[in-house]
Symmetry: C2
Subunit: 429 residues, 2 copies
Amino acid sequence: MRTRPLKVALLGCGVVGSEVARIMTTHADDLAARIGAPVELAGVAVRRPDKVRGGIAPELITTDATALVKRGDIDVVVEVIGGIEPARTLITTAFEHGASVVSANKALLAQDGAGLYEAAARHGKDLYYEAAVAGAIPLIRPLRESLAGDKINRVMGIVNGTTNFILDKMDSTGAGYQEALDEATALGYAEADPTADVEGFDAAAKAAILAGIAFHTRVRLDDVYREGMTEVTAADFASAKRMGCTIKLLAICERAADGASVTARVHPAMIPLSHPLASVREAYNAVFVEAEAAGRLMFYGPGAGGAPTASAVLGDVVAVCRNRLNEATGPGESAYAQLPVSSMGEVVTRYHISLDVADKPGVLAQVATVFAEHGVSIDTVRQQGKDGEASLVVVTHRAPDAALSGTVEALRKLDTVRGVASIMRVEGE
Amino acid sequence: MRTRPLKVALLGCGVVGSEVARIMTTHADDLAARIGAPVELAGVAVRRPDKVRGGIAPELITTDATALVKRGDIDVVVEVIGGIEPARTLITTAFEHGASVVSANKALLAQDGAGLYEAAARHGKDLYYEAAVAGAIPLIRPLRESLAGDKINRVMGIVNGTTNFILDKMDSTGAGYQEALDEATALGYAEADPTADVEGFDAAAKAAILAGIAFHTRVRLDDVYREGMTEVTAADFASAKRMGCTIKLLAICERAADGASVTARVHPAMIPLSHPLASVREAYNAVFVEAEAAGRLMFYGPGAGGAPTASAVLGDVVAVCRNRLNEATGPGESAYAQLPVSSMGEVVTRYHISLDVADKPGVLAQVATVFAEHGVSIDTVRQQGKDGEASLVVVTHRAPDAALSGTVEALRKLDTVRGVASIMRVEGE
Ligand SMILES: NC(=O)c1ccc[n+]([C@@H]2O[C@H](COP(=O)([O-])OP(=O)(O)OC[C@H]3O[C@@H](n4cnc5c(N)ncnc54)[C@H](OP(=O)(O)O)[C@@H]3O)[C@@H](O)[C@H]2O)c1
Ligand SMILES: NC(=O)c1ccc[n+]([C@@H]2O[C@H](COP(=O)([O-])OP(=O)(O)OC[C@H]3O[C@@H](n4cnc5c(N)ncnc54)[C@H](OP(=O)(O)O)[C@@H]3O)[C@@H](O)[C@H]2O)c1
């Protein structure tokens, strides 16, 4: 074993960074044995230098992250600051000064993964980011290495723990969205400003990253259709239950049936209770992968949290350190397929539409005609009437999203349709 | 991209090998793009040269596997013959002649993984074997790479599809073992001679491989406690149901509570229906991993079959080819921890014991005394009497296996105990 240690610079020492530092210290011998050389924490960049950070030698702490990544003797920079800047500049500066990078920063990778990969390749360095998607769950490595000999057709998963916690509460207790969100906040599962989670921004970033890897194609954050879950109601859950379904916020990356294009999207969807994703409870994450030869795989585990995320970061640190000892680099960006990314209108799926209608004869016939005119074929209809008001729940066969949008627009113009109470996609047969 | 192709020699062209050849041909462009150089099927060794093998150029077929691996221009040898010899000699010969090796051979790896790793290291070559455990499910790579920065405490899984199919049938239809086995055979899920599966030999080989990787310790096949599932009865399933459990054949690799030793074992066990492994149906495989930082992870998918297994093989082929272009090697054997492997007697778990007893007063007191004398504490007892005969079902708290064996031996000596109808471990709380 080499005795000269490999040097790790830690940028950020918050929820994730503090756990990375702790494990590096407490498990130093194991890491050394697995890497083939000791690893040393060479510096820790933070914003607030005076905060007490147990277990970290005070002289390692700095507020000058730039100077740390420019030192020139750093082997691996671990970026767990988050956000776009200064993280991006620090990462590219790290490459310029000879370091490889491990990051957990989904926002940055989704926004500018290509630029970071290019910088890494230009300097012959590694960029690893297992922790950026689904926390501790090995997913990036299985997709880009284990399935490298296969053709991935679909990645569908629960990749945001906060929203899964909220939806699970709504499902199990009958609570409304606000009540479930309040509970999630009180228990620390939701942040004070939950927008990034509940509006699907966090999941969309992960969908962009997953689609890019799965389809060997650059998928930008803007390519991802995004719908949050703040409009999901207790009534939707009741409807879902009647169909033998539950509701999950899903990130779905798909290859079109003809293989010539791909799509990536995030939205709430009904899935059958028999689907393995339906039983993913609380803040857990799980991702289903369908590949041509491998078939259906599922990966399940904690999607966030300091220690789980640090586990993923350290797996990458070990890999990058081994690569450095080998004077090699791991797989870089793979975007050779260059498939076009289609818009949401071209996605083909099923729909559950709930309409408030006038309770009089002929309404169903009118509604059915609108669906037919738009080429959306109906699977089942359920009518429920009370006091002159009635509701009509339509579940469709598979149809393009654009055709459904057209249908809904036309339905809204019918005199007999008082309102469209909810539209939800149905996934996972 | 390099234009000179990397050369792959395929040893064996049966269920798995024929799929490897097919995918290499049909997906040649994708493989080339992902590797950074084309890959070429340079030769295919089989036993019966005259068998029609669709899609493979006849001039590639040979019965002289030894000459093929000795050619000297082969980059990667894919061994999918199976069994100990000639597979072992072919693999070591391949290393000697400059090739790296991808194998799906669990039997050989469990029996002599250390020797193969040594040969690979001696010649600076790679030995990859993702397909050897749980077919298409990425498991070896996540354990040895993604979790390389973590401490794995437990690996527990369903790693044999045949037995899971049989147990699932028994559970869902109330069938006995023989009836369920017959159905599995008729449907092609069980081989004509099912011994390796139903007696747990196949799962034990996988347990040895998984324990070795998880605990960075050599675990030999002989170190694995093994009990098949041929004795599991419909009555056991009925008992399990009453406890809210089902029965699975599990491979369990554990670190002792004090961390100073490890165990590996394969046996049928009751697990609660709420446990994720309980809902693994038909011939699917799934493996639960508990790590200190990552928490509980699960990996699920098809554990066998030509195409799924070929997917895993080709993922390894891509990795090994990339390593060759990098003039590097991937992670080798990691056995630095050298933990002692304890015997089954030291395993601590819970038990479900079903006794046929005389239906008279005082029997329960006698039985309870025997448990107490052996330090096995009882959780619940259920008594059922009919026609002078009675049965007593005891579920214990956690106790060492040796203490339970002692208890059972003493119980058998009691006049009032007519027989021990079944003993089954209870796992997965
Ligand atoms: N938390 C999770 O469960 C989780 C899961 C997966 C991925 N991630 C990702 O991991 C990253 C870190 O998340 P986190 O939860 O650990 O964040 P956090 O708790 O907010 O920690 C951020 C750290 O960065 C430091 N920092 C902020 N701006 C800085 C600057 N300009 N220069 C130097 N240091 C600076 C902070 O310093 P102070 O300590 O002085 O404030 C703090 O130590 C994010 O990209 C996040 O998306 C997190
Ligand atoms: N089948 C699965 O689902 C599965 C899953 C995971 C792992 N595996 C592992 O994969 C390996 C292969 O399994 P399989 O199911 O593909 O086996 P298989 O269908 O029996 O194929 C074995 C192949 O090896 C050839 N062969 C046998 N002896 C040979 C010799 N001495 N020299 C050259 N070729 C020889 C056979 O030639 P002929 O074609 O001329 O008979 C045949 O092509 C085994 O280690 C198995 O444990 C299989």
